[in-house]
């Protein structure tokens, strides 16, 4: 473990908290300018602070770097344990960038209770960053729950007409998931230490700890039956967050009602919590259960891809369409990771970033037009490319990124996921690829109905194109989309060590649950043949 520059993580995680407290105690609620300025400066500072992680993280270094490890509740082995690997570095950067954009994009969208709004936005960021930094299960759980509260209020106070319904639905859904996750955590904890006689759970007798890296060590010893139950508890928690079919119905409601910045953060980062949890916890901690679950999670993902795309196609509300497209896109991410090979996992992680960029930008864009017309119905628009050419151009680029056009980010992620899925079971790729056709269908159909044709609606004739501030909420995301699409190597390199370690840990599964990909003895001959062929055509 590397402890160099450890202060960075603590700063990144808690700067927004300090900012939020500053706004609470020192700024008058009438002073909207100062509140916005402070929030922007804090979010900006946080983003700047997170940039060094990109450069300082060493791909050939220790698994977890920038580590801080302090005792918190020593009697039960709870620690204040921060540390990141390449995977979390990428997600932290995504979070701080989207956090800044969320603040910056809210200036005109939010007009009442501004003080509380920005405080909640910053607190939300603390929770999200904490989840990505935590390497102690209890700390992880605390941040996991901390995220929930500000989001609940963001939807419930600044949301649309059905905000209360949506907020409560969001809260209860995720709460059910996180409680089950806690039970899973405790089961693992007790199994590692003294067990729980009351329920007949034996223990390994180790010193009690919630440290995730320590629990990685004992993962291969956990009996498959116990793994199964813990996996199931984790699965419900994470699947709700992702959300996977059929746990997804909170998502469209939450998105439609949430204010724009809320949707951006929700789609961009909060949904990644589930997939982060799978890769950080389920796969390496529960290898046997993971391998047994591959089949049905693969099918659930494929259903999500196709079903989400079809439901998106039927939507009349732009925001709801984007929300359902998220279900489809997140299906790709879970499919890729449960292909359990390097390409699939890399694609899956990359697609988490891509989805944050593209769908985040789509929600921003829908929010921009909503601010102007207070209407999100596709049928209200048509031909607005004429009055808003810059907006139309941005929307087109993001649409293309979302449907996976090569040279843009979405393609790289989808390609890696699909080729990974193919390597696992070729028919996975067969079904999932059809999602790409449907994706082009619903996105371009929406684009055509909104932007092309005659400008027939009187109310749209006076629409103003994006101003400079609005443009700058989108431009960074467009630059990133092209960067990842054209030269994804820096991103893939940073996640590679994580992927390799996850693969190694999954490979510790007991042989009876062996993966089709693990080279079995009978395949060795063919393997050698292939090597020969490789040398031949090399000559």
């Amino acid at each position: 473990m590397e402890t160099q520059y450890a202060y960075l993580l603590n700063l990144i995680c808690f700067v927004p908290l300090v900012g939020a407290l500053f706004i609470v105690f020192f700024l008058d609620k009438e002073n909207s300018r100062a509140i916005k300025m402070t929030a922007t400066v804090v979010a900006g500072l946080d983003f700047v602070l997170s940039l060094p992680l990109w450069f300082l993280y060493k791909t050939d270094g220790a698994e977890f770097q920038f580590v801080t490890k302090l005792d918190w509740i020593p009697s039960v082995g709870v620690q204040y344990f921060f540390g990141v690997d390449g995977f979390s570095v990428l997600l932290i950067l995504l979070t701080t960038l989207l956090g800044l954009i969320a603040v910056y994009s809210s200036f005109t969208a939010i007009a009442h209770r501004e003080k509380e709004y920005y405080v909640f936005l910053l607190l939300l960021q603390v929770g999200m960053l904490g989840v990505f930094c935590s390497l102690d299960f209890i700390l992880f759980y605390v941040f996991w729950e901390v995220m929930l509260v500000p989001m609940y209020f963001l939807i419930g106070v600044w949301g649309g007409p059905r905000k209360l319904y949506a907020a409560i639905k969001f809260f209860l859904f995720t709460l059910v998931g996180s409680v089950l996750m806690l039970i899973g955590i405790l089961a693992l904890y007790f199994y590692n230490s003294d067990g729980m006689a009351a329920i007949g759970l034996p223990g390994l007798g180790n010193a009690p700890t919630f440290s995730i890296p320590s629990l990685y060590e004992i993962a291969p010893q956990v009996p498959p039956e116990l793994q199964f139950w813990i996996f199931l508890a984790f699965f419900v928690g994470f699947a709700i967050k992702v959300p996977m079919f059929p746990f997804h119905t909170w998502l469209p409601d939450a998105h439609v009602e949430a204010p724009t910045a809320g949707s951006v953060i929700l789609a961009g980062v909060l949904l990644k919590m589930g997939t982060y949890g799978f890769i950080r916890l389920s796969l390496p901690l529960l290898p046997d259960a993971t391998i047994k679950a591959v089949g049905w999670i693969g099918w659930l993902s494929i259903v999500a891809i196709i079903y989400g795309a079809l439901v998106a196609m039927a939507q009349k509300d732009m925001k709801k369409l984007v929300a359902y497209s998220s279900v489809s896109h997140m299906g790709f991410i879970t499919l890729g990771m449960f292909a359990l090979n390097e390409a699939g996992l890399r694609g899956s992680i990359l697609q988490m970033l891509n989805h944050g960029i593209s769908t985040g930008a789509l929600f921003l864009l829908v929010g921009l037009i909503y601010e102007r017309r207070h209407n999100r119905m596709i049928s209200e628009y048509g031909g607005i490319a004429k009055v808003m050419p810059i907006y139309a151009m941005f929307f087109l680029v993001i649409t293309l990124s979302s449907i996976g056009l090569p040279t843009l980010n979405g393609f790289i992620g989808e390609f890696l996921i699909l080729i990974g899925a193919f390597a696992h079971k070729w028919w996975w790729a067969l079904f999932a690829t059809s999602g790409i056709v449907l994706g082009a269908g619903y996105m371009l159909w929406m684009y055509q109905r909104v932007f092309f044709g005659e400008l027939s609606n009187e109310k749209n004739k006076g629409l103003k194109d994006l101003n400079l501030r609005e443009q700058w909420t989108i431009i960074p995301l467009i630059i990133l989309a092209f960067w990842i699409g054209l030269y994804p190597k820096p991103f893939l390199d940073r996640m590679a060590p994580t992927v390799d370690r996850v693969m190694e840990r999954v490979a510790t599964a007991r042989p009876e649950a062996a993966l089709p990909m693990v080279v079995h003895v009978s395949a060795v001959d063919q393997h050698e043949e292939h090597d020969e062929a490789a040398t031949e055509h090399g000559e």
Partner: protein, 701 residues
């Protein structure tokens, strides 16, 4: 450093032009002259550098192998398990290659591309500054994508170009986006192509799954090493899947429906993208991946059948269309069919040869039709044209030359390449290729019939448009004029190419015992995998006797002449068109069938499109009512339960609590009397109590 070491600059020049025009000229609203200069320099540099690189490579390097230039490492996906049981690292580079196939493509794409840029300067001059720079930005972007497509050294870089040209096609078909139907046509093109891409992507996965690489030269090496039938199944699957992609891009049955609608774009775009270059990408891809098809007789047969049937099918539709661009569009579909027929009989070189000659004469025809439409003030209906030859002689003569070329009259380019295809198809039947000789004979006959139809509908077009008297009304007649030089010069160059291009690059030496005069056969020969993996491809072949070869030439010239003659009788000598009109009345069903393009669009609309939307609506209802219904149901049950338990709590639990309280209170009201503070009273109670306890004690023992 040499030109060909920097081959990647060829696509990069137009990309730079696209970016400058899109981000600077367009955003600042600069004048048209700026957009002109930028766009022409972008495509002009691609032309110069492309030709220079190819020529330098040809004279300095071994031109029987691919010269691969790796630009940077693009996607790395770690080790992947293969279908064969081993693993291979997924490393895809952004790399370009120069080899005979890409050299041929680069030379003609840059040339035709530059000419059409030049033509567009004249054609688009009446657009606003903003639209003008947008147009040229897209056009340059297209050049980038197309050059990436033909220069890419692996399937994935090819796919980048493949999707890129699709995007530009989408943007340019929908260039007049205010018009609903233009925008719809663009979307239709994109989505139909995506269906094809589905096959293409799966083919990429299967290719990597079996061979562990996506590089063409490595695949060629692996497949040429193979012996026996081990890889035939793999080659068949990959070949058919790739061909699904080609069907979409090159508008073959059943995915051809987007191309006629694509005529909604500006006419130079139709010429460049939807005739000369992009739509031939499918043919290029099949020729590039010939190593799969060569191993798989079944995949070859699929390609040949789809191609041959499309050739005649589209030609029949072309017979009755009255929109000048629609005739040309169906003609393009039909000619693409010929190219696939060639590929399907193993004559990949003939297919590429026809791609090149077709690029010249079809671009010339489209640009000529653009010149006509331009003169007629946007009118595209041939029934409102006529007699134009005296108003626009340059357009007329170039158009006529290109028409003679496509009709297949020797020695023009179209004759040479089309006759090569028909001869190969016949040969495939004659030698019973892969045991499918009968099928190939049938396809040869279809191709021959198609040739007659082509000659007929093309001369019908010429006679209706340029001969007789003008039918568009007097006012329109005043506006008729020859186009400016920027438009006629490209026409002249292309017409020139249509005359000599065929003999120049593909001299039919076999007819004169001069096989080595056929440049393209010798040049591209090493790129074709010998059938069944043994040795190099036999370039000429002497399966068919010398006399028979000449007989075939005579036959195809005869059918072409017959087609022209009928067109002459029906549309030239009779200005009322009474014979075709009588035919239409006599066979109303056949006429309507062709006029309405076999109702294929309507069929797709009723089945696939409505089906998908219906399924989408059903899923949405299901989601709202069932999936979310369960969630809300849980909520109602929970709320209901808590309401009931609230009542229970209030009435029962609280009731019991209260009851106990009440009992206590009532009881204490009586017991209170006992406790009044008299010591004697307490003493007495104590005594009685003690006595009672003693009594109980004694009685029980």
């Amino acid at each position: 450093m040499s030109f060909y070491d920097l081959i990647w600059l060829v696509p990069l020049f137009p990309l730079a032009g696209a970016l400058i025009n899109g981000l600077v000229t367009h955003q600042l609203g600069l004048k048209k002259s700026v957009a002109n200069i930028v766009a022409l320099i972008g495509s002009g540099l691609a032309l110069i550098w492309g030709w220079a690189a190819v020529l330098q490579w040809y004279f300095t390097e071994d031109h029987t192998v691919s010269y691969v230039v790796k630009v940077f490492s693009w996607i790395s996906g770690g080790d992947l398990p293969l279908l064969s049981g081993g693993t291979a690292p997924l490393e895809v580079a952004a790399s370009y290659q120069v080899d005979p196939t890409s050299a041929v493509m680069v030379c003609f794409v840059t040339l035709v591309g530059f000419l059409i840029h030049l033509y567009s300067v004249g054609y688009m001059h009446s657009e606003s500054d903003k639209a003008y720079s947008r147009y040229f930005s897209y056009l340059n972007l297209f050049m980038f994508a197309m050059l990436t497509l033909v220069l890419g050294s692996n399937l994935l870089v090819l796919f980048v170009g493949w999707e890129g040209v699709g995007l530009c096609s989408y943007l340019l078909i929908g260039f007049y986006y205010e018009k609903e139907w233009c925008a719809s046509a663009g979307m239709k093109a994109f989505i139909v192509n995506r269906i094809g891409d589905f096959g293409f992507l799966l083919a990429i996965f299967f290719t990597f799954g079996w061979f562990g690489t996506l590089e063409f030269s490595e695949l060629f090496a692996v497949l040429s090493q193979h012996h026996g039938d081990a890889l035939v199944g793999a080659a068949t699957i990959i070949g058919v899947l790739l061909f699904i992609g080609a069907i979409g891009k090159s508008a073959q049955i059943p995915l051809f429906v987007w191309l006629p609608d694509a005529m909604a774009g500006p006419t130079p775009v139709s010429a460049l993208i939807h005739a000369a270059t992009m739509v031939t990408a499918g043919v290029y891809m099949v020729a590039r991946c010939n190593f799969f098809y060569q191993l798989s007789p079944n995949a070859m047969l699929v390609v040949a059948v789809i191609g041959g049937v499309t050739a005649i099918f589209a030609a029949t539709i072309g017979l009755t269309q009255n929109d000048i661009k629609k005739v040309l569009a169906y003609s393009t579909v039909s000619q693409l069919g010929y190219m696939f027929l060639a590929a399907g009989v193993g004559a990949y070189i003939a297919a590429i040869f026809h791609v090149v000659t077709h690029a010249f004469f079809k671009a010339c025809l489209f640009l000529g039709s653009g010149s006509v439409i331009h003169a007629c003030g946007g009118e595209q209906d041939m029934r409102k044209m006529g007699g134009l030859k005296k108003y626009m002689p340059k357009t007329y003569w170039t158009f006529l030359i290109a028409t003679i070329a496509i009709a297949g009259i020797p020695p023009l380019a179209g004759f040479v390449s089309k006759d090569a295809i028909l001869a190969k198809a016949f040969e495939a039947g004659y030698t019973d290729l892969n045991g499918f000789g009968g099928a190939y004979y049938g396809l040869w006959i279809l191709g021959l019939c198609g040739a007659a139809l082509t000659a007929f509908y093309m001369f019908r077009l010429v006679f209706m448009t340029f001969d007789g008297a003008f039918r568009g009304g007097e006012e329109a007649e005043h506006h008729l004029h020859e186009s400016p030089w920027t438009m006629t010069l490209p026409l002249q160059v292309l017409a020139f190419g249509s005359v000599i291009g065929g003999l120049l690059i593909g001299f039919p030496g076999i007819l004169f015992h001069k096989e080595n005069w056929n440049f393209i056969e010798g040049f591209m020969g090493p790129m074709i995998l010998g059938a069944h993996g043994h040795g190099a491809a036999h370039a000429g072949g002497h399966a068919v006797s010398f006399g028979l070869e000449w007989a075939l030439v005579g036959l195809s010239v005869t059918v072409a002449a017959a087609g022209i003659l009928v067109a002459y009788r029906w549309y030239k000598t009779d200005p009322e068109f009474s014979i075709p009109n009588a035919m239409a009345e006599r066979f109303p069903f056949a006429y309507k069938l062709l006029l309405n393009k076999y109702w294929v669009d309507e069929l797709y609309d009723a089945t696939i499109i409505r089906g998908t939307i219906g399924l989408a609506r059903f899923c949405w209802e299901f989601d709202a009512r069932v999936v979310d219904g369960v969630v809300n149901g849980t909520r109602h049950v929970t709320v209901g339960t808590s309401f009931l338990s609230g009542i229970f709590d209030l009435k029962v639990i609280d009731g019991i609590v209260n009851l106990i309280g009440t009992i206590n209170q009532t009881a204490s009201r009586y017991f209170r009397r006992l406790q009044v503070g008299f010591t004697q009273g307490y003493a007495m109670v104590m005594v009685f109590g003690a006595a009672l306890l003693l009594a109980v004690f004694f009685i029980s023992f």
